[in-house]
Structure formats: structure tokens, C-alpha cells
């Protein structure tokens, strides 16, 4: 498809701007102005609408396709949450108003939503207080690491490293590093959980904390978790719960109850805010009582008269980590979703998420090698090694696209060869799962009988396999075809 820039034609106009009716005395000197207007497209509204409507149709999405992308929790996004977020009084509020004197009264609604959502998240996780500021999961991780550092600094602890299992998302070590710590990696045992012996060897007085996903990226719930936590607490280390897989246990297990000190939640996963093609996400972080003083400012507080206010007076706080209060309209969606789920809905959701994953695990075990003999949590992981000669997990992924299903997560976790990581979520029907099983079986069969058909895939998508090496080499990152240079 052409680029919107390629549809541009000089003199065509888009949305009309009001005629300018103010001519000021002051004008900006010419040397401060740009030499040429930016070469934005010159197109009409109808061209923009048709262009982006057509572009949208090149995507797979939850609304159009089964999207069992492991570790991403691609569940249905209820339309009521979108509507809630579009209530005009919530969209039109300037974030600095509550910082004006008497300005808090202008935004009581928004502040109440923030406060209420924080309380719900605390209740769900068993942690004392939340910050809603982090603008993505990895941003939450970084915020948590910064709070760990502030805690240790305050306690006079000399801490140098954070322990992370080898099955972790790459963001964990990257966040630890950005928080100023070195990373100690602990390998997984044959059950896919951190090797307890090796872990105990790694823990020492310099351990600032441990970052753990639970269930882990293999979908396994570590049964020795309490022992692990105790070992860390024994050296005044902090246990961090990476909430990436919270959809597996919500309404049943509170990380705070297990002894975790910090936790982030991906609202776009468990709480169904839209993934948006890659963001905005949102990753609130909760902390236990002893870490409260270190939470980012500002914090939303409820005063005795029932009004809500912003509170900046926390001298031990790590400070601002976002300009304001987080991705507010995403928070509204999560709040709306949680109000609708309610008490029973929380557990009802994780129940079905886990059932659907186990159902797929069971049905696919016959044809694909599962990484574990036991049950899984909300996602199941297979190896593509049993695919026919010369057929890789990547080929399987592309073959699924041809069959109208988004590929699972592939080649992750890193410790599983030819990994295939499937997360069906609770918002898919049994029929969809059954169809998926049939497809997977058919592809396994085909990998042995007609491997070329799989190498050629995908053929039904708008483009076939793309040359990623050339992309990195040529670095064609912006359109220049309409320019003379």
C-alpha cells in the first residue's frame, strides 16, 4: 500500500482550521522561523479516512483473529471500558489543575478514580499501597528497582546486585541495570523453575532483591516460593513480583500474602486495557508497608472531609518518575473493568484462563512436545523440535497466519529450544480452541509430508516473509521518495 506521503498532492487540504481573526502587534523575527514548512501530507479527510481504514485491515487483532500470543494476555477488551474512558469530563482535564491553589476541587472526579483504583489493586495484591504512575510494565519494573535502591540507601545497606532467573523477560535485567545494579542470573531446573540450590548460592549480603515472575514464563508456579522469599528476606533483600502473569492467579493468590515486597501489574494484560498495537501500556507498582515512604510523588490522598488531594510531602520518596499521575485514561479502563469483574469475577477470570490453557496443553500434548508433564497455569509451552526435518517454529508461526490465527510467542522463553508459548486467555470459546488444535495438528502433519508448503508460508497475508536482515542493513527508517536529496 502507498504511504500517506505518497498520496500527497500540493494544494490539497485536510481538516479546515478556523480563519485567523487575530493579528497581533508582536511578530517573531524571521531568523527564528523554519526555512520551509514541514513536508507533511497534503490530503483530504476522505483520503486520510480511507488510508487508515485500509491500513487497519492489514492487521491481525483480537477483534478479528484468535491471538494466542504467550505472555501477552491478548484478551477481549470490553467496549464499556472504552466508553468509560471517553467520558468528556475525564478527557478534558488538564493535569496541572490539581496543582493550582484550590485547583484540587476542579478534578475531584479524576482524583477519586485514581484513589479508588489504588485501593482495589492493593486489595487484590495484598500490598499496602500503589503508585499508578508507571507508563508500562518495564517502567514499573524500573520504578520498583529505584524504590529498592532508595530503601537500601535509607537502611545503609550496601547492595550491588539483583537476582533474576534465566527464564525472565529481558526487561527484568535491563531495568535492574538502569536502576544501578548488576544482574546475577540463576538457571532454571528441569521443572522450569529457578534452581533452589543455585539460588541459595547466589543470595548474599549484597543481594538488593530478586525479581520473579509467578507463575514463571513457563507457566509454572514455583512451589518453593516461600523458602526462596525467606532466604532473601534473611539478608534484608526485597522480593519483587513481576505481574506479567497475574491473569493466572488473580482472585486466588495475593503476592503480598506470599511475602513479596513489591509488585507491578500490567493493566493491559490482566485488566484488559487495549494493547494498542504496542502501547500505551501501564504498569502500576504496589509496595508493602515498609516501602511506602519510597513511593513516587505525587500521591493521591483522601482527606478527613472526604475530598481527594495530592500529597507531595514524602522526603524519602524516589521523586517523580512520570510527569503526572500515569496513563490516566488507561487507568480509567482498568478501573471500569475491575468494577465489572468484582469479587467473584476476578477468580472466575483466572479460573477460565487456566482451564483454557490446560485444555490446549492436553489436546496438543499428543502432537507437540510439552515442556512439562504437569498441568500449566494460564499458558502452555511446547517445543517445536518435533516438527518435520528442516521445519522450525518460525515456519509453524507463519503457517498459522495463513490459517487466520495469530502466531503464539515463539523462541521465548529462551531456555526452551524452538519454544512455542501459547496463551489462549479466558475470552476464547472452546470451539476456537478446538479449531486451533486441529490447525496445529494439521501443520505438524504437513511439516512431515509437505515441508515446502510451510517454508512458503505465509501466502494469504498482505506481504510474505520480509527480509529483516536487509531492513537492518539498509536502515530505511523514513520516507524520502518525495524529496530531492
Amino acid at each position: 500500500m502507498k504511504l500517506i506521503f505518497e498520496k500527497s498532492s500540493p494544494g490539497r487540504g485536510g481538516v479546515r482550521i478556523p480563519e485567523d481573526r487575530i493579528s497581533p502587534e508582536e511578530v517573531i523575527p524571521a531568523e527564528l522561523l523554519r526555512s520551509e514548512p514541514a513536508e507533511l501530507p497534503e490530503v483530504s479527510e476522505s483520503e486520510v479516512v480511507r488510508h487508515y481504514t485500509r491500513l487497519s485491515r492489514l492487521n491481525f487483532s483480537v477483534d478479528t483473529h484468535f491471538y494466542p500470543l504467550g505472555s501477552c494476555t491478548m484478551k477481549h477488551n470490553p467496549r464499556a471500558c472504552e466508553k468509560a474512558a471517553s467520558v468528556p469530563e475525564l478527557c478534558e482535564t488538564h493535569p496541572l489543575w490539581p496543582q493550582l491553589r484550590h485547583g484540587g476541587l476542579l478534578t475531584q472526579g479524576s482524583l477519586q478514580i485514581l484513589y479508588s483504583l489504588e485501593r482495589i489493586l492493593s486489595e487484590i495484591t495484598g500490598l499496602a499501597e500503589f503508585t499508578l504512575q508507571p507508563m508500562a510494565g518495564s517502567h514499573g519494573e524500573l520504578t520498583a528497582v529505584m524504590m529498592m535502591a532508595a530503601y537500601h540507601r535509607d537502611r545503609g545497606n550496601k547492595k550491588t546486585h539483583i537476582i533474576i532467573p534465566d527464564s525472565a523477560h529481558g526487561t527484568n535485567p535491563a531495568s535492574a541495570a538502569l536502576g544501578g545494579y548488576s544482574v546475577v542470573t540463576v538457571p532454571s531446573d528441569e521443572n522450569g523453575v529457578m534452581d533452589l540450590e543455585k539460588f541459595k548460592e547466589a543470595v548474599n549480603e549484597e543481594t538488593a532483591g530478586v525479581m520473579l515472575t509467578l507463575p514463571n514464563t513457563l507457566g509454572v508456579f514455583n512451589p518453593q516460593i516461600r523458602e526462596l522469599i525467606d532466604a532473601v528476606h534473611a539478608v534484608d533483600g526485597l522480593m519483587y513480583y513481576d505481574g506479567a502473569n497475574f491473569n493466572a492467579i488473580m482472585g486466588r493468590i495475593k503476592p503480598g500474602d506470599l511475602g513479596f515486597d513489591l509488585c507491578h501489574l500490567n493493566l493491559h494484560k490482566s485488566f484488559s486495557t487495549p494493547h494498542g498495537g504496542g502501547g500505551p501500556g501501564t504498569g502500576p507498582v504496589g509496595v508493602c508497608e515498609k516501602l511506602r515512604p519510597f513511593l513516587p510523588i505525587s500521591r493521591v490522598a483522601k482527606t478527613k472531609d472526604g475530598t481527594y488531594t495530592l500529597d507531595y510531602d514524602h522526603p524519602k520518596s524516589i521523586g517523580y518518575i512520570a510527569p503526572f499521575y500515569g496513563n490516566f485514561s488507561i487507568l480509567v479502563r482498568a478501573y471500569a473493568y475491575l468494577l465489572m469483574l468484582g469479587r467473584e469475577g476476578l477468580r472466575g477470570t483466572s479460573n477460565r484462563a487456566v482451564l483454557n490453557a490446560n485444555y490446549l496443553l492436553e489436546k496438543l500434548r499428543g502432537s507437540y512436545a510439552a515442556v512439562s508433564e504437569s498441568r500449566c497455569m494460564h499458558e502452555c509451552v511446547f517445543s517445536g523440535k518435533s516438527l518435520g526435518e528442516g521445519i522450525h517454529t518460525l515456519d509453524l508461526a507463519k503457517a498459522l497466519l495463513d490459517r487466520g490465527v495469530h502466531a503464539p510467542t515463539i523462541y521465548f522463553p529462551l531456555n526452551v529450544p524452538e519454544a512455542i508459548m501459547i496463551e489462549p486467555t479466558e475470552t476464547e470459546t472452546k470451539e476456537t480452541l478446538d479449531e486451533f488444535v486441529t490447525m496445529m495438528e494439521e501443520i505438524m502433519e504437513l511439516s512431515k509430508t509437505d515441508p515446502d508448503a510451510l517454508h512458503a508460508a505465509p501466502v494469504t497475508t498482505p506481504v510474505g516473509r520480509l527480509d529483516e536482515v536487509a531492513a537492518a542493513k539498509n536502515m530505511d527508517l523514513t520516507y524520502t521518495g518525495d524529496q530531492n536529496d
Binding site: 500500500m1 478556523p18 517573531i28 477481549h76 482535564t93 512520570a322 468494577l339 523514513t478
Partner: protein, 446 residues
């Protein structure tokens, strides 16, 4: 009917599926987790129906003020957003997709990102852009870190014309890192050339500037950037994208890295987010740039297509050695901005910039004519300027709120000694009449 909304299995389905996995009940599925780890104590209300939830939320939302005439900006502006922006970006194919890991199934997202990168590069006068970051503040932090990676130095100079909101964030983020962070006070409303000259030496990795700066003043940074380059430091310029409809670009001034807050390009104010951080740079520096980047390439049949590229920089491959811990972009916001920019187009976007400027220019003349009011700096400005009032600015704001006007942002909140300074911002949405009313009311409360 089930108490769990949105799930897709019927009781009969569930029975069959539990049977298939050899479980008696849902609880069975969790039986490997020690019972003492499990709880059913959740102090939450019962679930609401959609109708009840909406009624509840509307009631809360009504506690926000909705009829205020807003002159408060400080980097976050109340621009008009054409209806087509919402209409297009709310298509399910866009907002319920995820990161384009499978490019063949995500050309919509990828092409839009490539178009966005093109527009940002053109706006800023730079060669390349990433596919977006969280917001203007974290983008500036990432720009600083990128500069330090490039120079392998650890000293940073920051002009105090850079938004204090962002500088607060920078201080949080650098606290645990071995970075020598120094702020250089403004002089006469712009970057203090002499002070920078004094501090610029070969320890300096990054210099952070902002144009227009927090007080709205605009400046040609060309000479200063030349100075910066003389010590082989990297110039990072934060900017307000709407101003680039008219103003000399950071690219034209020689900047190495340009960042900024993209909220004004089609995002509602929404009490602080989601917004959009943008970042552009020179092609030769791109491998040091954090965040997702989309590149054009070809498929097996020679058809043009788009992929995530230069992923070797990123955390899922490099882990603790990655350029950044960022693993998403703000794709839906980036999409909003390319749709917004396409709808306005080359001339419409420049028109918006001109109108912001003209309204501010008119207000400048009107407001500084008020007895006792004087300019804080007498420098060219774009859409925002600071005036010194004869009394405490916070009090003035408080008085005018009573009259339905958010008059501006009091600089004293961040700048010591500026208790009487008020920052007024103007967009194309503010009318001459509203400005006249502001002037009259302001006069009446002084």
C-alpha cells in the same frame, strides 16, 4: 448466568474441558499450589453490570469541572482534535492488536509507525525517529542516556529553561546512576551562553536544552550547539512539536538528538496521559537510539513491507546490556499523531501554529498593558509567556478559578523567587473574546 463477565465458556463447555484435563473442578487446577498460599478474602464489591458501572463512573466524572476556560499550559496544551482521529484509531484492528512481532500480520501498525517516524523526522528537521517512547520527560531522560552512551562520558549539563517537571524526573532517574548532573540557570530568559562556555569541557557527555523553553521563550540555539560540538558533547533538545509548524527546527540548529512531548499532536489532555514521547536523531547515531524502530524492506516477492528493525539494541535480546529497558512504544498514540498530522497536513499544521502564536501575541499586548503587570522576559515567544504580577500568582489563579478561568500556571511552584510570576498559554481553541475576558478579570483581581 455466570458471575464472570466476558468469559466465553458455558457451564457445559467447562464441564467437558475440566474432564478433558482430568480435573474435577477449577480448584483442582490450582491444587499444586499450597493451600496456605491461596485466599478468598478479597474486600471488593460484587461485580457491576455495564449499566451500573457507567452510571457510577459518570457520577464520579461529573465531580470534575468541565466549563473552565483554560490558559494553563506549561508544556501540555488544549488543542483541537479532529473527529476523524478518534474514529480511525478506535478501529479494533488497531487498538486490539499488539506489538508487530509477526510483521506479515501487522503491516497496518508497522506502516503507520513508519509514516509516524517520517513525520517526526520532518517536523524536527532530523533524519530518523524511533516509533515513540512513553512521554516527553522519559524521552528526554532516554536522550540523555543515549548521549552518554555515544560519548562514553558521564557528565550532563541541563539548562533550567528545560521544563522543571522533566528536570525533577531526570533527578529521580539519575539518582542511582554514576552520572554527574548539573543545572545551568537561565540568563534573561534563555540559555546562559557564558555559563555554558565555562562548564563545557571534555567531561561533558550531554547538554540538555529546550526550545521554546518552559517560559515560552524561543531562541536560536545554533551557536550554543556549535560550542557543544566543539567539546564533542551531544546536544539534546526538547521541543514542543506544534511550534515546529513555524519555528526553526532543532535539526536546523544542529541538534544531535531531539525529544519532546507529543501530546499536542492529537492526544486529549486526559489528566496526564497517555501521552507520547518522541525522539529523533541523525542517521549515524541511530544504533544508539532506544525504543522500537520500524524499517522498510521487501518480502520474498519483492513487495515493500515494514518490520521492527535494529532489534539488537533492545532488552529482549541484550537484556541488562540493552540501550534501554523499554519494551513497548506508545503505538496507539503515535498512530493518533500521524492521523492528526495527515488530517491537518502541511498547511493546516502551520496554520495551527500560527494561530497559537497570534493569540499569544494579542494576549501579550492586552495583558502587559494592565497596571502593575510586566513581562518577566522581553524575548520572542511562541504560544506561552510569563508575566510578573503585582501579587502572588497562586492567589490570582485561585481567584480566577472562581470565575471559571484557569488563568495559567504559577512559575513559583518550581522557581524560587518567582511567586508573582504567572505563565499564560494559548492555543487555537482560545478566542479573542476569551482573551479579552481574561484581561478584564485579571485586572479586576489585581
Amino acid at each position: 448466568m455466570s458471575h464472570t463477565p466476558f468469559v466465553c465458556t458455558s457451564p457445559a463447555d467447562e464441564k467437558a474441558m475440566l474432564h478433558a484435563v482430568d480435573a474435577e473442578s477449577f480448584d483442582d487446577l490450582f491444587s499444586h499450589i499450597p493451600a496456605e498460599f491461596q485466599t478468598d478474602q478479597f474486600g471488593l464489591s460484587a461485580g457491576l453490570s455495564e449499566m451500573e458501572m457507567m452510571q457510577h463512573l459518570r457520577k464520579i466524572a461529573r465531580k470534575n469541572s468541565s466549563d473552565l476556560t483554560n490558559f494553563c499550559g506549561a508544556g501540555f496544551y488544549d488543542h483541537f482534535i479532529p473527529a476523524a482521529v478518534d474514529s480511525l484509531t478506535s478501529r479494533g484492528e488497531f487498538f486490539t492488536a499488539y506489538t508487530p512481532y509477526q510483521p506479515e500480520a501487522a503491516q497496518g501498525t508497522l506502516q503507520a509507525a513508519y509514516e509516524y517516524q517520517t513525520a517526526i523526522a520532518r517536523l524536527t528537521g532530523m533524519e530518523v525517529s524511533n516509533a515513540s517512547l512513553y512521554d516527553g520527560g522519559t524521552a528526554l531522560f532516554e536522550g540523555m542516556m543515549m548521549a552518554l552512551r555515544i560519548t562514553r562520558r558521564n557528565c550532563v549539563l541541563v539548562d533550567t529553561g528545560v521544563s522543571p517537571i522533566y528536570r525533577t524526573m531526570l533527578r529521580s532517574y539519575t539518582r542511582n546512576l554514576k552520572i554527574d548532573y548539573k543545572e545551568i540557570p537561565l540568563s534573561g530568559g534563555i540559555a546562559d551562553r557564558d555559563a555554558f562556555a565555562q562548564h563545557l569541557d571534555d567531561s561533558i557527555g550531554a547538554v540538555l536544552l529546550q526550545n521554546p523553553n518552559f517560559f515560552g521563550c524561543i531562541d536560536d540555539l545554533t551557536g550554543l550547539i556549535e560550542q557543544i560540538h566543539r567539546v564533542k558533547a551531544v546536544a539534546v533538545v526538547s521541543t514542543y512539536p506544534v511550534s515546529l509548524g513555524l519555528l526553526k527546527t532543532p535539526g536546523e540548529m544542529g541538534a544531535d538528538i531531539v525529544t519532546g512531548e507529543g501530546q499536542s499532536l492529537g492526544m486529549p489532555l486526559s489528566f496526564g496521559g497517555p501521552y507520547l514521547g518522541f525522539m529523533a536523531t541523525r542517521k549515524k547515531l541511530v544504533r544508539n537510539m532506544p525504543g522500537r524502530i520500524v524499517g522498510a524492506t521487501q518480502d520474498t516477492q519483492g513487495r515493500r513491507g515494514y518490520v521492527l528493525t535494529l532489534q539488537a539494541r533492545e532488552q529482549h535480546i541484550r537484556r541488562e546490556k540493552a540501550a534501554s529497558n523499554i519494551c513497548t512504544n506508545m503505538q496507539l498514540c503515535a498512530l493518533r499523531s500521524i492521523v492528526y498530522l495527515s488530517l491537518l497536513g502541511k498547511h493546516g499544521f502551520a496554520d495551527v501554529a500560527r494561530q497559537c502564536m497570534d493569540r499569544a501575541g494579542y494576549a501579550w499586548t492586552r495583558l502587559k498593558a494592565i497596571d502593575g503587570v510586566e513581562p518577566l522576559f522581553d524575548r520572542p515567544f511562541f504560544n506561552e509567556f510569563a508575566l510578573k504580577l503585582p501579587k502572588d500568582a497562586s492567589e490570582v489563579v485561585s481567584d480566577l478559578i472562581e470565575e471559571g478561568i484557569a488563568a495559567g500556571f504559577p512559575a513559583g511552584r518550581y522557581y524560587v523567587g518567582m511567586e508573582n510570576v504567572l505563565l499564560f498559554a494559548f492555543t487555537e481553541k482560545r478566542t479573542k473574546k476569551e482573551i479579552d475576558i481574561l484581561a478584564a478579570r485579571l485586572e479586576s483581581v489585581l
